[in-house]
């Protein structure tokens, strides 16, 4: 009964990996460029969730900074890619 939390963390990480595999499928196959940007944004969010689960797994709050950075960089990169799709250049 004491091993309930490690079991749940393993199951959750396996689900996240499956979800990231499906996101990679959309990233590789997506018919248009905006599909690929959407899949990349999704992968960023799931990676951030993996960091938060690993913080519980290793009992360390250092992973929080990593997750926070992933949120910020995911936002900036997604907006930059969408701006590139809209205009053809990022900074004008």
């Amino acid at each position: 009964m004491n091993a309930m939390l490690p079991w749940a963390i393993t199951v959750t990480l396996v689900m996240y990996v499956l979800a990231m595999g499906l996101g990679l499928l959309r990233l590789a196959r997506g018919p248009t460029a905006q599909d690929r940007v959407l899949a990349l944004d999704f992968l960023y969010v799931v990676g951030m969730l993996v960091m938060l689960v690993l913080a519980i797994r290793y009992d360390s709050s250092m992973y929080f900074e990593g997750a926070f950075m992933m949120v910020l960089f995911g936002f900036v990169s997604s907006v930059a890619l969408a701006k590139f799709l809209l205009r053809g250049e990022v900074i004008e």
Binding site: F42, L49, L52, F75, S78, A82
Partner: protein, 141 residues
């Protein structure tokens, strides 16, 4: 750590895994891009909230005091996710108009709001298609 807290954290984590898996299935299986845009919002709202709640419960139980710093991620994510979605939707709409593909049906609006300055902030491509699609007979009626 008591058994109750461990069970709560375990249930929250598995629930977030299920939500993320549903979002990934939607991203893979839905037929259209604008339908596919709905799926990742599930991961960046509901799953992120659940994992944050699990993290708050776990670290509060570990420290013996309320530790809310993970909440910062939720605050930042709830600001950035709508911005990303809107910018990406506008980019997709623009690119689809450029390519001449089929567009989603326009939202029905009141005729009074159509002719005024309501469209002033929207990009030029949207205005031009508004003019070509709705045309003269709608305006006369």
């Amino acid at each position: 750590m008591t058994l109750l807290i461990e069970a709560v954290v375990a249930v929250l984590l598995v629930a977030s895994g299920i939500v993320v898996l549903v979002a990934a299935l939607g991203l893979t299986r839905l037929p259209d891009f604008f339908a596919r845009m709905h799926a990742p919002a599930l991961a960046s709202t509901l799953a992120a909230w659940i994992v944050t709640l699990a993290s708050i419960v776990y670290f509060s139980a570990q420290a013996g005091a309320l530790s809310l710093h993970v909440w910062l991620i939720i605050i930042v994510l709830s600001i950035t996710a709508p911005v990303t979605t809107i910018v990406l939707a506008r980019a997709a709409l623009f690119r689809r108009r450029q390519a001449g593909d089929a567009l989603p049906a326009p939202l029905a609006r009141a005729p009074a709001a159509r002719s005024g300055t309501a469209d002033a902030g929207i990009e030029a491509g949207m205005r031009s298609t508004d003019a070509t699609e709705q045309g003269m007979p709608r305006k006369g009626a």
